[in-house]
């Protein structure tokens, strides 16, 4: 098996494009997960059982089905009921929804770790419920959650290759195109793998920076 550098050189522009698409899917998907995860967490703590119960079921349902199946559903099944999504949009929604259920667990643990005395002090000062969440509880719960959240950011990024199944042009999609045209499968797959490896390193470094900067309550 020989290694052809000129193929690698020719592949770089497409690989770069693919990586940008993967990053786009990661960042947007993770933002969806962060926001939706918080919504899930709060709804699951609702004092009304008719809110709590259906959401507990929805979360369990999403978490217990494979991401790939969810992606197929979003991309190939939804059009049959008249909802057509672009590959990237379906990917972002799929990743976001799937990871929101994990992120929701992380927030829950962070919220449970806030001492009961904080809720009691908020009651003693008669702070409104919403304000207790936004200025007392979440600012303490979220920094505690950051290490686990950055782990899920990287896990989500590493799930991006599954978007190949719904034709998102991420690095492995590009690699398959290349090998189909040039039969240089070794170079193509290796380079796509390296692109993921290097980016995952960068993301985890970035994650540690965020942890250091925002990871403490004070």
């Amino acid at each position: 098996m020989d290694w052809n550098w000129s193929v690698v050189g020719d592949f770089m522009p497409k690989l770069g494009e693919g990586l940008l698409t993967a990053l786009q899917a990661t960042v947007l998907g993770f933002l969806v997960a962060l926001v939706l995860g918080l919504v899930f967490t709060l709804l699951r703590r609702s004092r009304f059982v008719w809110i709590r119960a259906p959401f507990a079921f929805i979360i369990e349902f999403i978490r217990s089905t494979p991401l790939l199946v969810q992606l197929f559903f979003l991309f190939y099944v939804l059009p049959e009921i008249g909802i057509t999504l672009s590959p990237l949009t379906a990917g972002v929604i799929g990743l976001g929804l799937h990871y929101a259920t994990y992120v929701s667990e992380v927030y829950r643990a962070g919220i449970d770790a806030v001492p009961p005395g904080q809720w009691e002090a908020a009651t003693a000062l008669n702070l409104p419920k919403g304000r207790t969440w936004t200025s007392v509880i979440l600012p303490q719960a979220i920094p505690r959650s950051i290490p686990a959240l950055t782990n899920y950011l990287i896990a989500l990024f590493k799930d991006v290759p599954q978007l190949v199944a719904i034709t998102v042009a991420e690095p492995f999609f590009q690699a398959r195109e290349l090998s189909a045209q040039t039969f240089r499968t070794f170079e193509a797959i290796t380079m796509a793998g390296l692109a993921y490896l290097v980016t995952a390193f960068v993301l985890s470094y970035f994650g540690r920076l965020v942890e250091r900067r925002y990871g403490k309550v004070y």
Binding site: G117, T123, A124, V136, Q140, V217
Partner: protein, 260 residues
């Protein structure tokens, strides 16, 4: 119901935790501006009373009134119905509490710990709230600590901030729940001195659970001795400390004095 001068009234209040009956058909009242100390062995229900008044706990049975209002009920025609959140919030706004473990908000600087409630709950402008917070920090001897985080302060300092934070909402009723139990004796004495000054210069109604008997003697108008969820003795500090009538009070005071 209760006499006209009563400001806080417990009427046949019961509270159990599991099989443990902490308050047993308890009735008592406190007049406006009165400073009352609750003493008794641990588990006798003192802290439960403060926590019910602060709405951190709900009684299983009975009623609590604050001023003209029921705390956990609303009058609907002639019957009593469970109170709405809005009703509880309105009545509760007269009351605040200082905790044994301070419970400052660690994510906020000292100044914002104090200004948060006045601005959000009591509609004070930022300038007003900040000016008042600075006055209170001066009162508690912490001028210059506005921009510190609670974790940068000692326990005694944190409790002083907590006291300033409680006073900032101009409460009618101040609940003190073993506020010096987590502090070293020397620091505790300083915090008690501060509270003594505050008690003497304000007309706030105070309910205080403490093991500091000298403090109880100095500041309270009245001492209630609790045992097993009931009041066994109710009198002036002079009477309770110098001439206790009930056997349980005598043994309790003896044990407390032996301790110190």
């Amino acid at each position: 119901m209760t006499a006209a001068t009563d400001f806080i009234a417990f009427d046949k209040v019961c509270k159990s935790f599991g099989d443990n009956r902490v308050l047993d058909d308890l009735s008592f009242s406190v007049a406006n501006g009165e400073r009352v100390t609750l003493i008794g062995p641990s588990g006798s229900g003192k802290t439960t009373i403060l926590r019910i008044l602060m709405t951190l706990l709900r009684p299983d049975d009975g009623t609590v009134t604050v001023g003209e209002d029921y705390l956990f009920h609303e009058k609907q025609s002639d019957a009593l119905a469970p109170a709405s959140d809005a009703h509880i919030r309105r009545v509760r706004s007269k009351i605040t509490m200082v905790f044994q473990q301070f419970n400052l908000f660690p994510n906020m600087k000292v100044l914002r710990n104090i200004t948060e409630a006045p601005m959000l709950v009591h509609g004070k402008s930022k300038d007003e709230a900040v000016a008042r917070a600075r006055e209170l920090l001066e009162l508690v001897g912490l001028t210059g600590k506005e921009d510190a985080y609670p974790s940068q302060l000692s326990g005694g300092q944190q409790q002083r901030v907590a006291i300033a934070r409680a006073l900032a909402v101009s409460p009618d009723v101040l609940l003190l729940d073993e506020v010096t139990s987590a502090l070293d004796p020397e620091i505790a004495a300083e915090v008690l001195d501060l509270l003594r000054d505050i008690a003497k210069t304000s007309d706030v109604t105070m309910l205080c659970v403490t093991h500091a008997m000298k403090f109880a003697k100095d500041v309270s108008h009245r001492v209630l001795m609790f045992n097993e969820g009931k009041i066994v003795e109710d009198g002036s500090p002079e009477q309770i400390f110098n001439d206790p009538q009930h056997d349980r009070t005598k043994t309790f005071l003896r044990s407390v004095i032996d301790e110190t």
